[in-house]
Point group: C2
Chain length 292, copies 2
């Protein structure tokens, strides 16, 4: 190929060349453009005994590596699958390209919701984010509090299924936004062997007047060893929702001040983003942090 | 639906509700999750007389709006289609969702390369980015300089085809990275009626020892009226490639200092990104700038 000969003229050595290809600008890689392929997903249904229902999950697989047929991949599980799966898969695909190469190729598992409030809240509560109980007869909080059951589904049914059917490495990431954010943090606090890294984008610490902050304060004891990574962030959530920020500052202070060995953490605030635009920036920064 | 009744209890008024739905957090919108659909693209071939070859293009269309069957959309044309089309389509899809709603729904056109150096360089030159001529017999620069011809293809064949076959608005954006970045800037300088907004991510101003900077200096005269938007950026391109930054500072200074009416511009530097990771952040920031 043209660019190959042209580089050899400069560098003359294929070992040097292999290193340099990671540094040179895209212009020199023109001929290596892959052909566009849409992000496609296996869609499977797992009959969950724990949840008493079939659960659909989306699975993105990296392109087959014909040179390493036994290659195994880290796995990223992302909540709110219908909202965030394809963005996460697109990020991982782009960022793991040979000429970008800042995260490894990964298997991405998107978990869409059936009853979001039931599955993504750690305990039963009818207290709204204004601190007042929602006592209406059709309150969406009626079904709340299934979070630990949902984590049991992930830990005892979903992860074993994925590990049995796909070429997984042990390294696993758990990512969520808002209610999904308190779910990943609840998992860190209560089911510590399940994941190696956690992403919590604007976690809804307002839930039950700070239930999860109290749990964090209780569980994140001094002198623990965790060997995990966690990225968390907030945005401009508006005046009435500024508890997203004040609560996350409290959580960050707990994590920072306790002497926990190996709990590598990063907090980013996005003052120019809304609650809903924040995931675009935060998922990217989280991936870069976890694989820096 | 549950969340609807719950909100009405608080706000009691459907007009207020329509406004508030843009502000409330995702937690309240749980039941509105769309079902995951992969980014899919029409792939068409345009027989180009200008280029003397068939040109493949990728076309992403927003989901049909059954309530507004005659709805028309702005169009974003992105170069290096095989590299950047699906990321851009994913961004536009996510950011135009009803509960995110910071950019309009758009038609995205990805233009993959056949001969990148030929099409994405504004003039013929064999000078490499180190300032020295590449005189090798198989130099990749041999074919350079077809950029204006390529713009003629876009302006007289591609855009008319898209406008004839899809529900387009007149508003058009032209986005490119590296050689694609000098192509969008060359278009701004030489074919000013073609687009309304431009994105140039780390434009390769090193091309022909600054050819395009000289052209900008000549064409961007005082007291012109342009009524356009342009976003440009650079990254940490490495010591040997720092001309990406110094040249872009010069370009920014030309744009800033000339008194051009209506040329709305934004320059962002990404010191923590590489030449190849930069597009992830910059395309997002560019879309937010253009539709702010």
């Amino acid at each position: 190929m043209n660019y190959n000969c042209s580089l050899k003229r400069y560098f003359g050595n294929s070992i040097v060349y292999i290193f340099l290809i990671l540094l040179i600008p895209q212009d020199l890689l023109a001929q290596t453009d892959p052909v566009f392929k849409p992000i496609s997903a296996d869609i499977i249904k797992i009959p969950s005994k724990v949840l008493g229902e079939d659960r659909k999950v989306y699975i993105y697989l990296p392109p087959a590596d014909t040179l390493q047929r036994d290659k195994r991949y880290p796995v990223l599980y992302v909540l709110d699958g219908d909202n965030h799966f394809s963005l996460m898969a697109e990020y991982c695909r782009y960022l793991s390209r040979r000429d970008v190469n800042v995260v490894p190729e990964m298997i991405i598992i998107g978990i869409p919701n059936t009853n979001r409030t039931r599955d993504l809240t750690p305990n039963h509560s009818i207290i709204d984010y204004d601190g007042k109980p929602d006592t209406s007869s059709n309150s969406r909080f009626k079904s709340s509090g299934g979070g630990n059951n949902f984590l049991q589904f992930i830990g005892t049914e979903l992860i074993p299924y994925i590990d049995a059917h796909y070429k997984t490495q042990p390294f696993k990431i758990f990512a969520g936004h808002s209610f999904g954010g308190i779910t990943t943090i609840n998992c860190l606090l209560t089911q510590q062997d399940m994941f190696n890294a956690y992403i919590a984008i604007s976690p809804s610490f307002w839930w039950d007047n700070g239930y999860l902050l109290r749990l964090a304060d209780e569980r994140l004891k001094n002198n623990r060893v965790m060997n995990k990574r966690i990225f968390y962030s907030d945005a401009d959530e508006g005046m009435s929702l500024s508890s997203f920020h004040t609560n996350l500052v409290k959580f960050d202070s707990i994590i920072t001040n306790r002497k926990i060995t190996g709990l590598d953490h990063k907090y980013v605030r996005y003052p120019d983003e809304t609650h809903m635009t924040e995931p675009v920036k935060a998922y990217y920064d989280a991936l870069r942090f976890i694989f820096r």
